[in-house]
C-alpha cells in the first residue's frame, strides 16, 4: 500500500493529526494494536476495562512490544467488585478530562466537522470538599457570588475584584509584576487580601492548581481562559463528551479521517518499521509491516505515539506543546469506581433562600435536597483537607452518569486523579494514596442511614507514568512523536492535545515538502449550514 503518512496509535492527538492530514488531501494509514479507537484515551465498557487491566498485569511468557510498553506506562493495577450486568452501557475513560467551551479543541471540532458526530454534557457544578459530608459549590461568576448567603459583603467585593482582574489584561498590571512565579495561594492572599476559603476555591477549583506551590502566571492564564468560556453553552465553562468523553472524540476524528480517505487497521500488531529505498526513483521511504497482513505500508512520513517507539528505525523527534511552559512530567495515581448513588453538594441547599411565601404557586422550582444531587460534576480536595491525604497536593474528582451517556440510569462513574509530585508519594500504591479520598467522596452523597456505608460496586486503581523521551537521531526526516506528557490540570488535556497535534501536522507538512501548498490546519468547510428553512 503506497501512502503518504502512516500514524501509529489512535489516541486523541494522533487522531487529530490523522484527520487533518487526510482532509488536507494526503493518503493516511492509521493503525492501532488495540481493537478499539482511542488507545490511552479510550472509552471502554466495564468488561473491556477488566480485559485492559488483565492484559497489563498477568504474567505471560511473551509480550508484544506494544504491551511491554503499556506495562511500563500503567503499573500497580488492581480491581475489585463485580462487573455489572449492563457492562456495555458504561463508557469508562482512561483519560478523564473536561473541555473548556472556548479553546483549540472546540475550534478543531467545529472546523473539522467532527462536532456533528457527538454530543456533550455541560458540567453542572464544581464543589470544594470541606469536611466529611460537606462540599460547597464554588462561585464561578457574578450570579453565584451575588446569591451566596455565606459570603460576607466584603468578601464578595474582593472575590469579584479578583475575577475582574483575572478575566482582563493582567500581564502589565502592577499586582503581578515580579510575582509571576510566586506560589499562587500566596499571591492571592497578599495582593487581593483574600481569606483561606476564597484562596482554596480560586486556586484549586477555579484554576485547578495541582499543589500549594503552583506558580501564579500560568494559573492566571488558565483562569482567564476558563472565565472566557463561561456562558458560551451555559453557566459552566466546561463540557464532558458523551460516551466517556475524550475516547469518543478521538473516534470522531478517526471517522472524519476515514471519510476523507484514510485507511484504518485496528487490532493488529505492528511487526516492524524500516527505512527502505523504494521505486521508482529509489526515494527514501518507511516500510511498515503488520502482523497477518501480507501487504506492507510504504510512506514518506511516519508518526508514532510513544507505545510504538521500540519498533521505529531511529529515534523520533518529539513534538511538544509550545504554548505552555512544561511543568515537568509526573506520574498520576488514578481510580475509576462505579457507584449506585449520586453525589449531592448539600452546600447548595444551605446557600439559597426558601421561597418568600410557601403557598406561592410559582412556575419556578424551589430548592430541595433532591436538587442538590449532580449528574456530571467536579469535586475538588484542596491540599490538607483529608486526613491520611496529602498536605501539598490537590486531588480532583470527576463524577458523571446517565447525563453524559457514560452509565445506565441509577449509576455513576467516579474518577479520581492525583499527581505524584514527590518521591514519598511515588513510593505508595495508588490504593493507599486514593482510598482516603474515595472514602471522603463517598460521604458527599444524599443523607442515608448511617449503617449502610456506601461502597462502590466496582473499583479499579492504577498508576500512569510519563514516558521518557530520548534525544532524536540526526535523521533528515525522523519519525515524529507527538509529546506524550500527562497534563497536570484537569481541563487542559484536550486543548494541549490539539496544540501538539497541530505542531506535528506542520512538521509532517514540512517533511512532505508541502509547506507552500498547505496554508491552514483545517481546510474550509464544504457546506454552509442553513440558518432558516422556509
Amino acid at each position: 500500500m503506497d501512502l503518504d503518512v502512516a500514524v501509529l496509535g489512535t489516541g486523541l492527538t494522533e487522531s487529530i493529526v490523522a484527520a487533518a492530514l487526510s482532509k488536507a488531501g494526503y493518503k493516511v494509514g492509521h493503525l492501532d494494536a488495540n481493537p478499539y479507537y482511542g488507545a490511552d484515551d479510550a472509552s471502554l465498557s466495564v468488561d473491556e476495562l477488566v480485559q485492559w487491566a488483565d492484559e497489563r498485569t498477568k504474567c505471560d511468557a511473551e509480550f508484544s512490544p506494544y504491551i511491554s510498553r503499556q506495562r511500563e506506562r500503567f503499573t500497580d493495577i488492581s480491581y475489585s467488585g463485580t462487573v455489572p450486568a449492563q457492562s456495555r452501557q458504561y463508557a469508562l475513560s482512561l483519560c478523564p478530562t473536561i473541555v473548556p467551551s472556548v479553546g483549540p479543541l472546540i475550534d478543531s471540532l467545529i472546523a473539522s466537522g467532527v462536532s456533528r458526530y457527538g454530543g456533550f454534557k455541560l458540567l453542572e457544578r464544581v464543589a470544594l470538599y470541606e469536611s466529611p459530608g460537606v462540599a460547597k459549590p464554588v462561585p464561578g461568576n457574578k450570579e453565584d457570588i451575588f446569591k451566596d448567603k455565606q459570603l460576607s459583603l466584603l468578601h464578595k467585593r474582593r472575590l469579584m475584584r479578583f475575577l475582574m482582574f483575572a478575566g482582563g489584561e493582567f500581564e502589565d498590571k502592577p499586582e503581578l509584576q515580579g510575582h509571576e512565579q510566586t506560589p499562587f495561594p500566596t499571591f492571592l492572599k497578599e495582593k487581593f487580601s483574600l481569606d483561606d476559603t476564597a484562596v482554596r476555591a480560586i486556586a484549586y477549583a477555579i484554576a485547578f492548581c495541582a499543589s500549594t506551590s503552583d506558580p501564579t502566571l500560568p494559573a492566571l492564564h488558565r483562569i482567564r481562559r476558563y472565565l472566557r468560556s463561561t456562558g458560551r453553552y451555559g453557566p459552566s465553562p466546561f463540557l464532558f463528551g458523551h460516551y466517556g468523553g475524550i475516547g469518543e472524540i478521538a473516534q470522531g476524528f478517526c471517522r472524519t479521517a476515514a471519510v476523507a480517505g484514510a485507511t484504518y487497521v485496528l487490532g493488529r500488531q505492528v511487526i516492524s518499521t524500516q527505512v527502505v529505498e523504494a521505486p521508482p526513483e529509489g526515494s527514501r521511504k518507511y516500510r511498515v509491516t503488520i502482523d497477518e497482513l501480507s501487504e506492507h505500508i510504504e510512506c514518506d512520513v511516519l508518526i508514532s505515539s510513544a507505545d510504538y517507539t521500540s519498533l521505529l528505525p531511529s529515534r523520533p523527534l518529539a513534538v511538544s506543546n509550545m504554548s505552555v511552559s512544561s511543568p515537568g512530567d509526573y506520574p498520576v495515581a488514578r481510580c475509576i469506581a462505579i457507584l449506585d448513588c449520586p453525589l449531592a453538594f448539600t452546600g447548595l441547599v444551605a446557600a439559597t433562600e426558601p421561597a418568600e411565601d410557601p403557598e406561592i404557586q410559582d412556575s419556578g422550582t424551589s430548592p430541595d435536597p433532591q436538587s442538590a444531587t449532580v449528574d456530571t460534576a467536579v469535586l475538588v480536595f484542596p491540599p490538607g483537607t483529608v486526613s491520611d491525604g496529602s498536605q501539598s497536593t490537590a486531588v480532583h474528582v470527576l463524577v458523571t452518569g446517565e447525563g453524559s451517556v457514560s452509565a445506565p440510569g441509577g449509576k455513576w462513574v467516579i474518577y479520581l486523579s492525583m499527581p505524584l509530585l514527590d518521591e514519598e508519594m511515588k513510593a505508595q500504591t495508588p490504593e493507599q494514596l486514593l482510598r482516603p479520598y474515595l472514602n471522603a467522596a463517598l460521604t458527599i452523597t444524599l443523607p442515608h442511614a448511617a449503617e449502610d456505608r456506601l461502597e462502590p460496586l466496582f473499583m479499579l486503581f492504577y498508576k500512569q507514568h510519563p514516558t521518557t523521551v530520548l534525544m532524536p537521531s540526526d535523521d533528515e526526516s525522523p519519525p515524529l512523536l507527538p509529546d506524550p506528557s500527562i497534563p497536570l490540570y484537569l481541563p487542559e488535556m484536550a486543548d494541549s492535545s490539539v496544540h501538539v497535534a497541530e505542531a506535528t501536522f506542520w512538521r509532517a507538512i514540512e517533511q512532505l515538502k508541502a509547506a507552500d501548498v498547505i496554508d491552514s490546519f483545517w481546510p474550509p468547510l464544504d457546506v454552509v449550514e442553513e440558518e432558516d428553512e422556509w
Partner: protein
C-alpha cells in the same frame, strides 16, 4: 469574543449565493401575489394560507397581518357553520404561529400585537357555567410563553410590558407576592436588569399601599438585597437607581446616615467607584437640605465640604462627565 470565525470554501459560498438568489425570486413573486389579492379583497382559504406563508418569512409585514385579521373578521368567523369552539381553535392556532415566530423574532411589535388581538377575541366558553375557561387557558399559556421569552432574554422590555398586560388581563389574577418572587429570581440570575428592578418596585409599592406586606420589614430586606448587589458589582447602574428609589424622599435621617456609612465602607474597599461617590454626595445633600436642624453649623460645613471633595474626585475618576459634576457641585439636586 475569542471565538474564531469558521471558514467556508469558495464553492460552498457560491452554492449559498445561488440558494439565496432563488429564495429572493420566490419571495418577490409571493409579495406581488399577496398584495394583489388584498387589493381584490380575496378572503379565500388559499389567500389565508398564502398570508401564513408570507408571515413566516417576514413577520414584520404589518399589511399582511392586517389582511389576515380582515380575513378572520370578514369571512372566516361570521360563517354560520363556524361555532365559537371553532373560533377558539383558530385563534389558538394563530397564537401557536406567533409563538413560533417570536422564538426567532422576539422584538417585533406586530407579532406581539397580533397576539393581543387573538387573546381579546377569544369568545366566552367552553360552556355557560364556565364562560372564562378558554380565556383562562389561553392567558395561562401566555404567561408561560412570556416567561420562556424572559428566560431567553431577561432584559427584553417588550416581554416585560407584555407580562404586565397579561397579569392585568387574566380573568383569575395571580398574587402580587408571586410576582415579587419572580422578579427576585430574575434579579438573582443577572442583576444588571433595569426591567426586573422596575417591576419589583411597582409590585412593592402596590403591596405596601394595600398593607399586604409590612413596609418596614420589607424595605429592610430590599436594602439587604441591593447592598449585596452593590458589593458584588458597584459598577452596575440599575442597583444604584433602585437604592435611590428605596431611600425615596429621604425623610428618615437615621436611614440616610446608615446608608451613607455603608456606601462609604464600600468606597473604602473600592476607591475608584464613581457610583459610590455620586450617591454619597447625593444623599449627604439631602441631609443638608432636609435635616440641617439635626446638625450643628460646624457639622453642616463639614458635610458640604465632603460633597465638594467628592465632586472633585468624580471629575478625575469619570472625566467624560466632568462638566456634569461641575454643575452638580454648583447646584446640588434636591430629591
Amino acid at each position: 469574543h475569542g471565538v474564531k470565525r469558521v471558514r467556508y470554501s469558495k464553492e460552498a459560498l457560491e452554492a449559498k449565493r445561488q440558494r439565496e438568489q432563488s429564495k429572493l425570486k420566490e419571495y418577490l413573486a409571493l409579495n406581488d401575489d399577496i398584495l394583489a389579492r388584498k387589493k381584490n379583497r380575496d378572503y379565500s382559504q388559499e389567500a389565508f394560507e398564502l398570508s401564513t406563508r408570507m408571515l413566516r418569512i417576514n413577520p414584520e409585514f404589518i399589511t399582511v397581518w392586517n389582511y389576515r385579521r380582515d380575513m378572520f373578521l370578514g369571512e372566516i368567523f361570521p360563517k354560520r357553520y363556524v361555532s365559537s369552539s371553532d373560533v377558539n381553535d383558530l385563534l389558538t392556532e394563530d397564537l401557536n404561529l406567533t409563538t413560533a415566530l417570536l422564538k426567532q423574532h422576539p422584538k417585533v411589535y406586530s407579532i406581539w400585537n397580533h397576539r393581543r388581538w387573538c387573546l381579546e377575541y377569544v369568545p366566552d366558553g367552553p360552556s355557560e357555567e364556565d364562560p372564562h375557561g378558554w380565556r383562562t387557558a389561553n392567558w395561562n399559556k401566555e404567561l408561560f410563553v412570556v416567561e420562556k421569552m424572559l428566560e431567553g432574554d431577561s432584559r427584553n422590555f417588550h416581554a416585560w410590558n407584555y407580562r404586565r398586560y397579561i397579569l392585568a388581563s387574566m380573568p383569575v389574577r395571580r398574587s402580587e407576592q408571586s410576582e415579587l418572587v419572580y422578579t427576585k429570581r430574575k434579579i438573582e440570575a443577572n442583576f444588571s436588569n433595569f426591567s426586573a428592578w422596575h417591576q419589583r418596585s411597582k409590585v412593592l409599592a402596590s403591596l405596601w399601599e394595600k398593607n399586604e406586606l409590612d413596609p418596614v420589614k420589607s424595605r429592610e430586606a430590599e436594602f439587604d438585597l441591593v447592598k449585596n448587589a452593590m458589593y458584588t458589582d458597584p459598577g452596575d447602574q440599575s442597583v444604584w437607581i433602585y437604592h435611590r428609589w428605596l431611600i425615596g424622599e429621604g425623610n428618615d435621617a437615621a436611614l440616610l446616615d446608615r446608608e451613607i456609612s455603608s456606601i462609604q465602607e464600600l468606597l473604602d474597599e473600592q476607591p475608584d467607584s464613581k457610583w459610590c461617590m455620586e450617591s454619597i454626595a447625593y444623599y449627604k445633600n439631602i441631609l443638608l437640605q432636609k435635616h440641617s436642624a439635626k446638625l450643628s453649623e460646624g457639622e453642616q460645613r463639614e458635610v458640604a465640604a465632603s460633597c465638594v471633595k467628592l465632586f472633585d474626585e468624580l471629575q478625575l475618576v469619570d472625566p467624560e462627565r466632568k462638566q456634569r459634576y461641575v454643575e452638580l457641585c454648583k447646584d446640588p439636586p434636591i430629591s
